[in-house]
């Protein structure tokens, strides 16, 4: 009686000591079983020698997130909120009606500017007549009126109030020239600067900032959204 069924287990060392001893004794006496055992051993070796298939991509699931991900998302959310708030604030402020401010230094600007408001309505900046100081503030005033709605800020691009000191050196001529280039962001003249400096409801005539803030707000909101998805996917 050949213990064929035990040969694999014998090969794998999985027999109890008693069974192993009895199979060993049989093998010593049985050439057929020795041959069968060798065949099984050869088969096992061939299986072990098979070339291992390799995956075409990483199979490790991404369960960890970089440590900076969650704080960045928090920051992005707050930045988005702040940017949207600034967008609304700058839009609201730029829609305030102009108030005449008699005491300021180049006071000629606001006064004709006020009258220009009435006459021009929503006129654009790149008008034809390059003229002396009067039309200069008029051109600037008209876009200022136009920015009553934030959409009109597109009509003219004005530099921000921030680079204030440098602008004082710009001559009126240069300012006029740049005004005629629609969309140019040349530094404003003294007058425009003075106009902006009067904070009593006066807004800078050409202010891109509402839209800059809105763009920032949307960008940060999108960043928060995608970072949040990454955080939730783990």
């Amino acid at each position: 009686m050949h213990p064929f069924g035990d040969l694999s287990a014998y090969l794998d060392g999985a027999l109890s000591p008693e069974t192993r001893a009895s199979v060993q004794a049989h093998l010593d006496a049985c050439a057929l079983c020795r041959r069968r055992l060798a065949e099984l051993r050869g088969t096992a070796r061939l299986i072990a020698a098979l070339p291992a298939p390799v995956p075409s991509r990483s199979l490790v699931p991404r369960v960890s997130v970089p440590v900076w991900l969650a704080p960045l998302r928090t920051f992005s959310t707050f930045a988005s909120g702040a940017a949207v708030f600034l967008f609304l604030a700058s839009a609201v402020v730029s829609s305030f009606p102009r108030m005449t401010s008699a005491g300021s230094a180049p006071a000629a600007a606001p006064a004709p500017a006020a009258s220009a408001l009435d006459t021009r309505g929503g006129a654009t900046a790149a008008t034809s007549s390059p003229n002396a100081s009067l039309s200069d503030p008029e051109k600037r005033a008209a876009p200022a009126a136009a920015t009553a709605s934030p959409g009109a800020a597109f009509n003219v691009v004005t530099p921000s109030p921030v680079p204030a000191p440098a602008e004082r050196t710009v001559t009126a001529d240069q300012a006029v020239k740049t005004r005629q280039d629609a969309g140019s962001a040349a530094p404003s003249s003294d007058v425009a600067l003075a106009a902006r400096s009067e904070r009593g409801g006066d807004q800078a005539p050409f202010n891109p900032f509402p839209w800059v803030w809105l763009a920032l707000g949307v960008t940060f909101a999108a960043l928060s959204f995608f970072l949040g998805r990454r955080l939730r996917s783990t």
């Binding site: 009686m1 050949h2 213990p3 064929f4 069924g5 040969l7 694999s8 287990a9 794998d12 999985a14 050439a31 020795r34 041959r35 069968r36 055992l37 060798a38 065949e39 099984l40 051993r41 050869g42 088969t43 096992a44 070796r45 061939l46 299986i47 072990a48 020698a49 098979l50 070339p51 291992a52 298939p53 390799v54 995956p55 075409s56 991509r57 990483s58 199979l59 490790v60 699931p61 991404r62 369960v63 960890s64 997130v65 783990t234």
Partner: protein, 197 residues
């Protein structure tokens, strides 16, 4: 993973159990290739990648319920179960058993070579023999294939294979023997001959 890596693996496993996702990823990285080769031989290349990735994700999610000592055996269990489930769902005729009816292991089942041929034991480097073995493995029943791969390729002990396949050691022994016998018979039928002993 040899015994030398045991200490480092234990440390990683402790950290992973406490929620360290990076530690788990490193553990998974060590097992990625063995798991894939096992799944690929069980399922074929097509489904193997998804099988392994899903299994690793499932392992991460249920890591808290892992209480045993062999993380490797535990993950292999998840992969093997998924592979067998996938094979069952692939079958168009679910009434086909995964294992043929039990036979008397001592009965004939040993094919005889038709004519003398190369010795089995010398053919490990022969591409043709390996190709025949690969093909043979794909045709034996899935349960036998799983046990045989876990034993001969992955080196698990019979007890571990019993745990991985949720069966008894006697069943493992039977499946391994019948699986090897089936592969041996196919080799013999292709003209190979076992060594004379």
């Amino acid at each position: 993973m040899g015994p030398d890596a045991g200490g480092a693996t234990e440390a990683l496993l402790d950290r992973a159990r406490r929620g360290d996702a990076r530690a788990f990823e490193r553990l998974a990285l060590e097992l990625e290739r063995p798991l894939y080769r096992h799944a690929a031989r069980m399922l074929g290349h097509d489904d193997a990648e998804d099988c392994v990735q899903d299994a690793l994700l499932s392992a991460w999610k249920s890591l808290a319920s892992f209480e045993g000592t062999s993380f490797r055996a535990w993950v292999f269990r998840i992969v093997t179960n998924r592979a067998l489930d996938r094979l069952r769902s692939r079958r168009r005729h679910p009434e086909l058993p995964l294992d043929p009816p039990a036979e008397d292991d001592d009965s004939a089942g040993w094919a005889e070579p038709a004519a003398p041929g190369p010795e089995l034991a010398d053919l490990a480097s022969d591409r043709e023999a390996l190709r025949v073995v690969e093909e043979a493995l794909a045709h034996i029943p899935a349960d036998q294939r799983a046990a045989l791969l876990l034993r001969d390729v992955e080196g698990f002990a019979y007890e571990e294979i019993a745990t991985i396949t949720s069966t008894e050691i006697g069943t493992v022994k039977s499946r391994i023997h019948r699986g090897r016998l089936a592969v041996r018979n196919i080799l013999i039928s292709r003209g190979w001959r076992g060594s004379s002993g």
